[in-house]
């Protein structure tokens, strides 16, 4: 299916949803966003009505996929620091023989499961931060995932996600903002906030029987039209995401389907430009494995998924940045169960045609004095990297990045030079806009009721 056919193949979108979201009324936005209940098809239509003047500020063709590796990914297992003389001694049975790894030059090498990522690096389309970290260094999955996703110096209650905030910081009518963020599968904090968000889930269940759909259509249109409007849109988005293609068949995992679907939706001319995917299974406390085993299997699937994404997004790859991040790294040394426990800094990985190949931040070293509380010390704050991508790849103004998107991030200066063709400063400046708070007191249902009818 080509981009040109997207509209023809889709049913009319539920105009109530589109109008509620596009009216810009704060109330309706809150109602919609927090629940991320918009159908993907809604976005594919609504952006067609955008006025032209809105298309000036940001890089409207930019694609940005954030992959959240949940559980704490062992960065030293993904990327081997060949330069560190203590590597083999410290990693013991997890250490890989260099001969079996994929070279990234003299200092680093990739786990051999990452053949596609390695090929991207050889194409000049991959960059690596060997010791990235977030502000919160307490090794708690729950709190560190929140911190990674809310982009705050210190966690706060009711925080919003930094992606939602950067979308909200763009001018009304901006194409990146109006095409909305897309969550694949789950509803992560990183997208939470006042801006409406789109949702699509890859599933492994048998697809709906078309005859059953036809019979339900008759029932719904007669007795419950809103159920039909919703189901029809959901089926259309799913069909678009998973239209028969080279690697979109039923034989691939749900994870890979998620990447394929994300690429198909993002490549569409009017599709979403910013998406988030979560990949679980990185909390390798026991039997982590080396060249084989569970960690190898996770890396291999991620590598295939990134390869699928590149194929499916097609020509838009040239405008794409994918970043894989995780809440924390793992211990340098193995535990008693041939696994690793929660640590601090870890590898972040960027791929995409827009990515400028290279390494981000220094290698901190494995000698005891170089470690932070016994774990790898962060040499770059992920907020710096995020800010660099948002400014230079998408065109989010620096003023917004330093205030509302990543408040109190003076210690995390914007990291320049991450992309091949940065958005020019003139365009960035034109996008300046009012600030928003990094947390929301959502208009809760009881608050709305009390505003209307009064308190007790």
């Amino acid at each position: 299916m080509s981009d040109h056919h997207d509209h023809d193949d889709l049913p009319a979108v539920d105009q109530r949803i589109v109008s509620a979201a596009s009216e810009g009324c704060a109330e309706s936005r809150l109602l919609l966003s927090r629940r991320s209940m918009l159908g993907v098809t809604a976005a594919l239509f609504s952006s067609a009505f955008l006025p032209d003047f809105a298309r000036a500020a940001t890089n409207a063709e930019a694609r940005f996929l954030v992959v959240v590796l949940r559980g704490g990914m062992d960065g030293m297992g993904l990327m081997i620091p060949k330069l560190d003389p203590l590597y083999a001694a410290k990693r013991k049975q997890l250490a890989l023989p260099f001969a079996s790894t994929l070279s990234l030059g003299t200092d680093f090498a990739l786990h051999p499961a990452l053949a596609r990522v390695h090929a991207m690096y050889n194409d000049g389309d991959a960059a690596f931060a060997p010791a990235a970290g977030i502000p919160l260094l307490n090794r708690s999955h729950f709190e560190c995932q929140d911190n990674l996703e809310n982009g705050l110096q210190v966690n706060e209650a009711n925080s919003t996600g930094w992606i939602n905030r950067f979308l909200g910081a763009l001018p009304a009518g901006d194409p990146i903002r109006d095409k909305r963020g897309l969550e694949i599968g789950d509803a992560p904090l990183i997208l939470r906030g006042p801006e409406p968000v789109l949702g699509w889930s890859p599933t492994w269940f048998e697809k709906s029987n078309p005859d059953t759909v036809a019979r339900l259509r008759a029932v719904y249109t007669a007795n419950d039209p809103s159920l039909w409007a919703s189901l029809e849109n959901g089926l259309a988005a799913d069909a678009l995401a998973l239209a028969a293609g080279a690697s979109g068949g039923n034989d691939i995992s749900v994870l890979r389907r998620g990447f394929v679907g994300a690429a198909r939706l993002m490549r569409a001319a009017s599709g979403p430009r910013v998406s988030v995917l979560s990949v679980g299974g990185w909390d390798t406390h026991s039997q982590q494995g080396g060249l084989t085993g569970q960690f190898n299997d996770r890396l291999s699937e991620l590598d295939q998924a990134l390869g699928d994404f590149k194929i499916e997004i097609g020509a838009a790859w040239a405008n794409t940045v994918v970043i894989c991040v995780t809440e924390f790294g793992r211990t340098v040394e193995t535990n008693g169960d041939t696994g690793t426990d929660h640590g601090i800094a870890t590898t972040s990985l960027m791929v995409g045609g827009a990515v400028k190949a290279g390494f981000i931040g220094d290698w901190p070293g494995l000698a005891p004095a170089q470690l932070y509380q016994g774990d790898l010390r962060p040499t770059v704050d992920l907020r710096s990297v995020f800010k660099g991508i948002l400014r230079d790849h998408i065109g989010v103004p620096s003023a917004a990045l330093d205030s509302v998107v990543f408040p109190d991030s003076a210690t995390a200066p914007t990291y320049g030079g991450l992309v091949k063709s940065p958005v020019t400063a003139a365009r960035v400046a034109s996008a300046a806009r009012v600030q928003r708070q990094p947390t929301i007191q959502e208009v809760s249902p009881i608050a709305r009721y009390r505003q209307q009818y009064g308190g007790a």
Partner: protein, 453 residues
């Protein structure tokens, strides 16, 4: 009253207030559907799960922060008992109230092993125990439980002027106090200020539990025997009297917090908030004072009796006249499907249940934020969610054949037994036209009569 009118009211009782019709249950309750609800309210013992093999409080606490697999094994046994319990009553109004209050005090097992190991025990011994009792007791029970103390971080909150706070230079964690006011009692706009949050946080300093590392290393007075249990730590408690909502609470240690919570439990704003939430959960996404006020009044005049409050809810005219516009939550839908079929997913065959709820973002006890799963139908009927609903309806129809190959009733017969004349002509025709049992059941599960409540 005509027979079809009776069927309609019975359908309302089973879907709006119950866990969904079982085959033939509409015939059993249609003589007086409301009295079927009332008889459940008159039987507090019926709310309890009495399975002897489930862990006691101290047994569950022994598993706190031990091993993920041990904690999860307990959680799975609790979930099994919960599902079985849902399938037993004719109507299941009390089961719905249990789910409502469990979600009111929403927690995620993914935050801490203390929650994973004990959340089922909390639901049985606190929520179910008091669901037809007094809200004060439920509130206090939850706040003195390791699961909630771990979930909202009160286990580490210390008064800055307490013995330990002064020695260690540590201070307050206001998470739990804030959510008590915002989510559990008064609600947003309920007449409290930021200073009240801080004050309540001071009042409940020292409310903690014996963390795994304290039990193992015998730190802070912990011992292996007291692992996981609620503990009041006097040395962490902020000394002095504290003012909350204009009222001064004398320095009485643990009783300072208990007294404050009892007052919050019966505050007029709490009455309004709970009444609003109940109306919104059971009747409409847009409650009005005509519906909320009588329920709030019953709560107030009874001093927080949840039975009296539930009675007021079903005595509202709208309870029986408002159209069934709300959508079953995914969890309710799964249970309703099991009740309709008379088949339960347990043990090895539970995966369709778990997979469906994961895909529909409604896994039990896994809401990441403390606000609980939403009650707004507009969320649950999003386009993606409706598509997944249909896929999982097909999955459940398929898996029925795997666990019950001898299931012989046709989907149409089943539908007639569930809804009698409350089934629309169009729904009946769609089910009848299905080519086989699997598609017939999937159609039945997706009819508005099955989806709406």
């Amino acid at each position: 009253m005509s027979l079809s009118e009776q069927n309609k009211l019975a359908h309302i009782a089973l879907s709006r207030f119950g866990m969904g019709a079982k085959s033939g249950s509409i015939l059993q309750i249609r003589v007086n559907p409301k009295s079927a609800l009332i008889s459940e309210l008159n039987n507090p013992a019926g709310a309890l799960i009495t399975t002897a093999s489930l862990p006691s409080y101290s047994d569950a606490c022994q598993a706190v922060e031990t091993d993920f697999n041990d904690e999860e094994k307990i959680r799975q046994r609790e979930l099994t008992a919960r599902i079985l319990k849902h399938t037993r009553p004719h109507v299941g109004f009390v089961e719905r109230l249990v789910l409502f209050f469990s979600n009111h005090f929403s927690m995620s097992i993914n935050k801490d092993g203390a929650i994973r190991a004990t959340i089922g025990q909390l639901e049985r011994d606190v929520i179910r125990k008091h669901v037809l009792g007094n809200f004060k007791d439920m509130l206090l029970g939850v706040m003195r439980h390791p699961a909630m103390l771990a979930y909202l971080d009160n286990d580490d909150s210390m008064g800055p002027n307490s013995v330990t706070g002064l020695a260690w230079g540590t201070g307050l964690n206001k998470n739990l106090a804030r959510e008590i006011l915002e989510l559990h009692t008064l609600g947003v706009g309920g007449g409290y200020a930021e200073a009240d949050v801080a004050s309540l946080a001071r009042i409940i300093t020292g409310w903690s539990y014996v963390r795994g590392w304290e039990a193992e290393g015998r730190y802070n007075g912990g011992t292996p025997g007291t692992r996981g249990r609620y503990v009041f730590r006097p040395d962490w408690h902020e000394p002095g009297a504290h003012v909350l909502l204009g009222k001064t609470y004398a320095p009485t240690g643990i009783n300072q917090g208990a007294t404050a919570l009892r007052a919050l439990a019966v505050h007029p704003s709490t009455a309004q908030f709970l009444a609003f939430k109940l109306v919104r959960h059971f009747i409409t996404d847009t409650p009005t004072p005509a519906m909320v006020n009588p329920v709030a009044a019953a709560f107030k005049s009874s001093g927080g009796s949840l039975k009296a409050t539930a009675l007021a809810l079903i005595n509202l005219p709208e309870a029986w006249t408002a159209p069934l516009t709300k959508l079953r939550t995914p969890y309710e839908l799964q249970i309703a499907e099991m009740r309709a079929l008379g088949r339960v997913y347990l043990h090895n065959n539970r995966w369709p249940f778990v997979a469906a709820l994961a895909a529909l973002r409604h896994a039990p006890w896994e809401r990441p934020a403390p606000d609980g799963y939403t009650d707004e139908s507009v969320y649950w009927m999003g386009p993606d969610a409706m598509r997944v609903r249909l896929e999982t309806a097909q999955l459940n129809a398929w898996s029925l054949r795997q666990i019950s190959p001898s299931f012989t009733r046709s989907a149409l017969t089943l539908a007639a037994g569930l809804f009698t004349s409350a089934l629309s002509r169009e729904s009946r025709a769609a089910i009848a036209a299905a080519p086989d049992l699997q598609n017939g059941l999937a159609t039945l599960f997706m009819t508005p009569e099955f989806q709406r409540r």
